[in-house]
């Protein structure tokens, strides 16, 4: 593009390279400190496993059910299914609801009072009621995750569409667009960035709540695996569970970001 300012590619690459090196170095230092603390005996091996042992456990857990009763893959699959069930149903309802509330005053007046009361209740506080209603199976946990993902997706979509530039709304009105058309063609696209922020916050909220839910009541899942690790005094199992949770969360955020880039090519990177 004639008007696009393009920096010399070589410069960008070398700058990126040095940043990658910095990240790698930081990881290396982290592992060295971890290794040093355990091997020197500053922290007992009963409390923190050395990095190598965690790696061995990680690899063996792919096929080994011991000591917590299921392979890492099985735990992972249970957790992911649960999280995605709660998350997807939450954002499919939450984002459109937030957009409608932000655009139509009537919808806002109807939903706002209920929403404002539910919003400050931490999702975990729903656990007792959820167990009472649904037992300890998937529905109870999915319900809690649904709540935790629902709130951020509503709030951010709501705030996003409220920020629609009035001049763009007027623009569309001069073309004779109805309010509904303006909502769809102007309000929604202009709110998209904030909707995605909501989707990202919802995802991390869902993932965190999942672990909390599984800590309390489960027979399988990453949260359950961590809990079993504590019961069996196996810090390596705990850390493998935690790392899997962390890596999965990061991977999901990354995928979502990629998806956003595809959907919103007009946004400057």
């Amino acid at each position: 593009m004639a008007t696009r300012i393009v920096a010399a590619p070589g410069k960008i690459r070398s700058k990126n390279n040095s940043l990658v090196w910095l990240s790698a170095a930081s990881l290396v230092v982290f592992f060295i400190i971890w290794y040093g603390l355990v091997e020197s005996g500053i922290i007992s091996k009963a409390l923190l496993s050395p990095p190598a042992e965690v790696l061995t456990t990680f690899i063996s857990k792919f096929s080994n059910r011991a000591p917590d009763g299921a392979t890492l893959g099985a735990h992972f699959k249970t957790s992911l299914t649960l999280a995605l069930t709660g998350y997807i149903t939450a954002v499919v309802v939450g984002a459109p609801l937030g957009l409608l509330m932000g655009w139509y005053k009537k919808v806002d007046s109807i939903v706002k009072p209920i929403f404002e009361v539910i919003r400050p209740i931490p999702p975990i506080a729903w656990i007792p009621l959820a167990i009472l209603w649904f037992g300890i199976g998937l529905p109870a946990k999915a319900f809690i995750i649904w709540l935790s993902a629902f709130v951020p997706s509503v709030i951010n979509s709501y705030a996003g569409i409220k920020l629609t530039e009035p001049v763009l709304i007027n623009m569309s009105r001069t073309f004779g667009a109805t309010n509904w058309e303006t909502f769809l063609r102007v309000g929604v696209p202009s709110a998209l960035a904030m909707v995605f922020t909501g989707l990202r916050l919802s995802l991390s909220s869902a993932w965190m709540t999942l672990v909390a839910a599984e800590l309390l009541a489960a027979t399988e899942g990453l949260g359950y695996m961590i809990q079993m690790g504590r019961t069996l005094a196996r810090p390596d199992v705990i850390i493998v569970g935690m790392l899997t949770i962390g890596l999965t969360g990061a991977a999901m955020a990354f995928i979502l970001e990629r998806f956003e880039g595809k959907l919103a090519p007009w946004r400057r990177s």
Partner: protein, 258 residues
């Protein structure tokens, strides 16, 4: 007030417009006070007035986006009661949709009217070409300079084929150089695709350079102070002695900071 009769009947006119806004302290600010003006078909009318005098308010009312407290707008003798496809608006702030390409922005008016994709792209391409943006159809607004963005705004207003184009300080946000260029451009475009234009500005040179007539507004509350027909041949020269004469005449009658 100098009211020269125009032999062509007026296409759009404002009749005794009044408008006030409720202020923060409970007082009302009177913004328009008995504004009367009429614009002939294919005339290039410039409304000249100081900042904050009510120019945008007036144009929004003419475009049907806002309503006056009393008085009316007549478009071909029919009162304007809301947005009308025959009234196109070019905004002071360019108001392009950041998520749409140049093509998408220019053709959006036709899309709202349900024109088929093929037909609206064909038409949009014509006006994109007219404003000199061929080759930029697929660019997004963030990739364009200020002058280019305003060209898109002009093409967009033209594309839905309104009878009257209302332009609200379209070049106000541009640097001086680009502004001169766009002033030439807008006349070139207007000569090629004649429409009735109501062009708002606070810049006296711009007004004289462009207008068939200039309507001078007073400070807030805005009312029509004088109307000046500009009989200079185009293209006009800023340094021409007759240009400067007109400028002096108008300047003597304004409280614009000059």
């Amino acid at each position: 007030m100098e009211a020269r009769n125009i032999d062509v009947k007026s296409e759009i006119s404002c009749q005794h417009l009044y408008k006030s806004f409720p202020g923060m302290d409970g007082n009302v600010t009177e913004v328009l006070k008995d504004v009367n003006l009429s614009v002939a078909k294919n005339e290039f009318l410039v409304i000249l007035g100081p900042g904050q005098c009510g120019k945008t308010t007036l144009l929004n009312i003419m475009a049907g986006l806002d309503s006056s407290d009393s008085g009316e707008i007549l478009l071909n003798d029919v009162p304007v009661s809301g947005p009308n496809p025959n009234l196109g608006l070019v905004f002071q702030r360019m108001a392009l949709m950041p998520w749409k390409t140049v093509m998408g922005n220019v053709s959006m008016g036709l899309k709202f009217r349900g024109v088929s994709k093929k037909e609206r792209e064909e038409k949009a391409r014509y006006f994109i070409n007219l404003v000199g943006l061929s080759g930029f159809e697929k660019s997004y607004p963030y990739q364009l300079s200020g002058g280019m963005k305003q060209r898109v705004g002009i093409a967009r207003a033209y594309c839905s084929d309104p009878e009257v184009l209302l332009m609200d300080e379209p070049f106000g946000a541009l640097d001086a150089q680009t502004r001169y260029m766009m002033e030439e451009e807008i006349l070139r475009i207007w000569e090629k695709a004649k429409r009735t234009v109501v062009f708002v500005t606070n810049n006296i040179e711009e007004a004289i350079y462009l207008g068939d007539r200039i309507v001078l507004l007073s400070r807030c509350p805005a009312t029509v102070k004088a109307v000046y027909p500009i009989d200079l041949a185009r293209p006009r020269q800023f340094t021409d002695s007759r240009f400067l004469e007109v400028r002096q005449k108008i300047a003597d009658n304004t409280d614009l900071a000059l």
